[in-house]
């Protein structure tokens, strides 16, 4: 095969996988063995191998979320050996490859753990809280049509680049899963920063941050204690600076607006 590493030896691994029937039942760790895993496989392809084995035996495959397998859709969300998306920095679970593991390893695979992310089944969790936070204000209120010519809003390249960096958040939830308080501050701050940096976001700047923070609190995410594990584990490198921007935006909104009680 055309793999980059033709001499790499296949691996045998022990998996300790969280199994839970649905959100109303208790779950438990179950052990599985997988054999002949190629180092060129992605982590999810390794799970595909496990699931095909289970299904052929008539057992239920392990449910997990995934889709694009290119690191951009934000669907995949596994807690691997105690770390969100596993051992490789700046990498989603789908982009993690088995060459990062060794023959004979035991790998523990759990779902995101946070009160605001209830488990659907096995490794799949409900992240709709993130959607509700965006619905609370993570947008510029423009209807389709009637927008001015794109070049009528010049934006310095440096500002556009910073806004872009914040906008690359994939809403996977690794920040929440990595935080000891299950805080969603990094996620919320990425959107707040993007729109606070851009002139388009200026009109609704104050109401946006207040409403999004209020929704974040309502969803049951914890407070931020500035440890920074969120940014350290973020697969797309959303910077901790965004949280500073969020705090500044929030305080200045609170100090000057009458938007919320």
């Amino acid at each position: 095969m055309a793999g980059s590493n033709p001499n790499a030896k296949p691996m045998n691994l022990t998996l300790k996988v969280w199994r839970q029937k649905n959100r109303n039942t208790n779950g438990q760790i179950v052990d599985y063995q997988v054999r002949d895993i190629s180092p060129d496989m992605s982590f999810l392809e390794m799970l595909d191998v496990l699931n095909e084995d289970l299904l052929r035996k008539g057992d239920e495959p392990v449910a997990f979320d995934h889709d694009c397998r290119e690191g951009i859709c934000g669907s995949c969300n596994l807690f691997i050996n105690g770390r969100a998306h596993g051992p490789e920095a700046g990498t989603t679970t789908c982009q993690l490859h088995m060459r990062k593991f060794s023959d004979g390893d035991t790998i523990t695979i759990e779902p995101w753990r946070a009160n605001a992310f209830p488990v659907n089944k096995d490794l799949s969790v409900d992240r709709s809280a993130f959607d509700r936070i965006i619905q609370a204000g993570g947008y510029v209120s423009v209807n389709t049509g009637g927008a001015p010519d794109g070049n009528e809003i010049p934006i310095p390249k440096e500002i556009a680049d910073r806004a872009f960096e914040a906008a690359t958040c994939i809403a996977c939830g690794a920040c929440v899963a990595s935080c000891k308080n299950s805080s969603a501050m990094l996620f919320v701050s990425a959107k707040v920063s993007q729109l606070a940096l851009l002139p388009q976001g200026n009109v609704e700047r104050k109401t946006r941050v207040e409403n999004m923070v209020a929704q974040m609190d309502k969803e049951g995410f914890g407070a931020c204690s500035n440890i920074g594990s969120c940014a350290a584990e973020c697969p797309v490198g959303i910077s901790l600076e965004n949280i500073a921007i969020l705090n500044r935006e929030f305080l200045s909104a609170k100090a000057t607006s009458n938007n919320l009680a």
Partner: protein, 644 residues
């Protein structure tokens, strides 16, 4: 003409303006009396749902994802075309129209494509207003780059993540309407059938993917924005969940399926590494702006490379064949996708392929890195280079990428008229789900353009025409057609669950993919297609007698979801083969080995095949009926495409 395609009369440049005036309007107070179902929340569906809700309609939007932000539009990398001519390099609406019709190898409708080029400029404005962080020049204005099949720079981009940023723009507009209560969002809900009442689309049947509940939903119109069917091939650059079920169910309820054999093979994907491979990853076409495609000049050298006897970085200029630059001096590495893909395959067929399987060619960045420095290259392509490194374990800053063509996009889809309405009244199809704008080959950076054009700027106008003629009386699920459709859905699920054979859905899917890639992929022949048809029929029988599932239907069951999708792929695959067999010409992504020029280029037959093949379902296991929509070209001259 079998069906009125409703192309407005008059000169090309005035058709859309005139049509917008002529379509009937729903008065603002009445809009809230109409319910519209939108299935799929990618660029086309998300944009449509948001725009329709802004107009005042009640929208119910459905996605099988956990959030509307995850649709596969998000993975589009390179950019979005628009005829802004900001670069002063000779672009215009007409040139974008012309490039698209030519790039599509003259198998698209002129009127639709012209409209697409016209509204392309509005899309950029809309997205900028939403806060989409497009790339900018130092002066603060929007930046552009060039893309395959064009000689102007008209592609707007956000680093290598343009699809993500555009989708998040549409998602934000949609989120706003959800917050206002104008869109009711159903996540993790899969459409499993279309409900037709008195000949009109009036609702859908869905399955809740968490609880397994089957639900009925009614509306005055149904919009499908459910993407393409590239996953028929199992391995493609599509996301794993991408499927054709919604479109195929609609087809079986009367919507014609057009040009199913027009599938696009993208030239620059990371090659297959093993049997376990679950999907293929695209390396954006924008890389061909600066990367140079080559293989060793001789078979002997290629063999030594494959065995690891020589290193790629040790091969001198004199031993390299930059075959695209050599064969197509005018367009070089930026020839359209179909041409680039076929040439890569040709090199590998000659034995000059690289990588241990020999199924790859090089995409080399050494020149640009030398010229502008690694830092500047990283600014442009950093995320793509990092992705390549992660997947292959090789560093593209130090050695060329290995690439090979892979299934990427499907130009075919549900037949729609100028209003984007299918042959089922009240049923619309937008984005990749329909067939209308790309002919036999889609140009790079045009998928995002079409999805957003349909969703933001076309459907919101055209859907009113039909609604204005529909009484604003409430629609309910009381009609027996709903119960009937639900019973069919349940019966099918029961059947899948009760087979209890030995083979998994993925096993069947891989088998199907192998047949499709081998016989209906980059090169097709009458003999191969006949063979493939028999193979698929056999595989379909095996599927329905030997499928293995576990668990129950009343819970989250990903294997069951997959099985339903594979069952539909097994039927659609056969129709693709029928269509490829019927089309005795080569055009765009459809290459029939029997029909090529002496130089090996696609040989069209405009006299006999300048038509849209719209297939009509005619009952289970019955041959489908072929309807032809003749294509007339009044504004471009049909020529042999040349990129030399």
């Amino acid at each position: 003409m079998f069906q009125d395609s409703k192309i407005p009369e008059g000169p090309l440049t005035e058709k859309w303006e005139k049509h917008k005036f002529n379509v009937k309007l729903v008065n603002p107070a009445n809009k809230r009396k109409y319910d519209i179902i939108v299935v799929g929340t990618g660029l086309a569906g998300g944009a449509a749902a948001a725009s329709l809700a802004e107009l005042g309609y009640n929208v119910k939007a459905f996605t099988y994802h956990d959030s509307p932000r995850r649709a596969h539009s998000i993975a589009a990398q390179g950019g979005i075309n628009a005829a802004k001519n900001y670069q002063n390099d000779g672009d215009s609406v007409f040139r974008l129209f012309y490039d698209t019709v030519k790039g599509g190898d003259y198998r698209a409708r002129e009127a639709n494509v012209y409209r697409l080029a016209q509204v392309s400029v509005n899309i950029i404005d809309q997205c900028v207003a939403q806060g989409v962080p497009f790339a900018r020049e130092y002066g603060g204005l929007l930046a552009n780059r060039s893309f395959g099949g064009a000689q102007v720079s008209r592609t707007f981009y956000a680093r290598g993540q343009t699809g993500q940023q555009l989708l998040l723009g549409a998602y934000s507009a949609l989120s706003r309407q959800i917050a206002y209560g104008k869109v009711k969002m159903y996540t993790r809900s899969e459409m499993l059938d279309l409900v037709i009442v008195d000949g009109k689309a009036r609702g859908i049947i869905t399955r809740n993917l968490i609880t397994g509940e089957i639900e009925q939903h009614a509306a005055h119109a149904v919009v499908l924005a459910t993407g393409g069917y590239g996953n028929v091939f199992y391995l493609s650059t599509n996301a794993k969940y991408c499927n054709a079920t919604a479109a195929w169910r609609a087809h079986k309820k009367g919507a014609y399926f057009a040009n199913p054999c027009f599938t696009q093979i993208h030239p620059t994907c990371i090659p297959v590494s093993g049997d376990y491979q679950s999907k293929l990853t695209l390396m954006s076409e924008s890389l061909r702006n600066d990367g140079r495609v080559w293989v060793p000049k001789t078979v002997e050298l290629a063999e030594r490379l494959r065995k690891g006897e020589v290193k790629v970085t040790d091969i001198g200029e004199e031993d390299r064949d930059y075959f695209l630059e050599r064969k197509y001096p005018a367009f070089g590495n930026l020839v359209p996708r179909d041409v680039a893909s076929r040439n890569a395959k040709q090199m590998c067929d000659e034995g000059r392929g690289v990588g241990s399987s020999g199924l790859a060619v090089y995409l080399d960045f050494a020149d640009i890195i030398k010229r502008t420095g690694a830092e500047s290259v990283s600014q442009k392509y950093g995320n793509l280079f990092a992705m390549y490194d992660k997947i292959t374990g090789e560093d593209p800053y130090k050695q060329p990428m290995r690439i090979y063509p892979a299934v990427h996009y499907t130009m075919g889809g549900l037949w729609v008229d100028y209003n984007l309405q299918t042959t089922v009244p009240g049923l619309y199809a937008t984005g990749e789900c329909n067939f209308s704008d790309h002919g036999a080959n889609r140009l790079g950076a045009s998928a995002l353009m079409q999805g957003l054009a349909d969703g933001y700027f076309v459907l919101p106008y055209t859907i009113g025409d039909q609604l204005a003629q529909t009484p604003p009386t409430p629609v309910t699920t009381q009609h027996p057609a709903f119960a009937e459709a639900e019973a069919q859905v349940r019966a099918r699920i029961d059947k899948l669950m009760s087979i209890n054979g030995t083979r998994t859905p993925d096993d069947f899917h891989k088998h199907l993919g192998h047949i499709m890639w081998e016989y209906c992929g980059m090169a097709r022949s009458a003999e191969g297609l006949r063979h493939a048809k028999a193979e698929i029929q056999k595989l379909r029988r095996e599927f329905w007698s030997d499928l293995k599932l576990a668990g129950t239907e009343g819970e989250m069951n990903q294997a069951l979801e997959k099985a339903g999708r594979v069952a539909d792929f097994l039927e659609l695959g056969e129709l693709m083969i029928d269509d490829a067999y019927n089309r005795n010409e080569s055009c765009g992504g459809h290459f029939r080995e029997e029909f090529q020029t002496p130089e090996g280029e696609a040989l069209r037959d405009d006299e006999n095949y300048a038509y849209v093949a719209a297939w009509q379902f005619n009952g289970e296991d019955q041959p489908e009926i072929l309807n032809k929509e003749e294509l007339t070209f009044e504004n471009v001259k049909l020529t042999q495409r040349s990129y030399k």
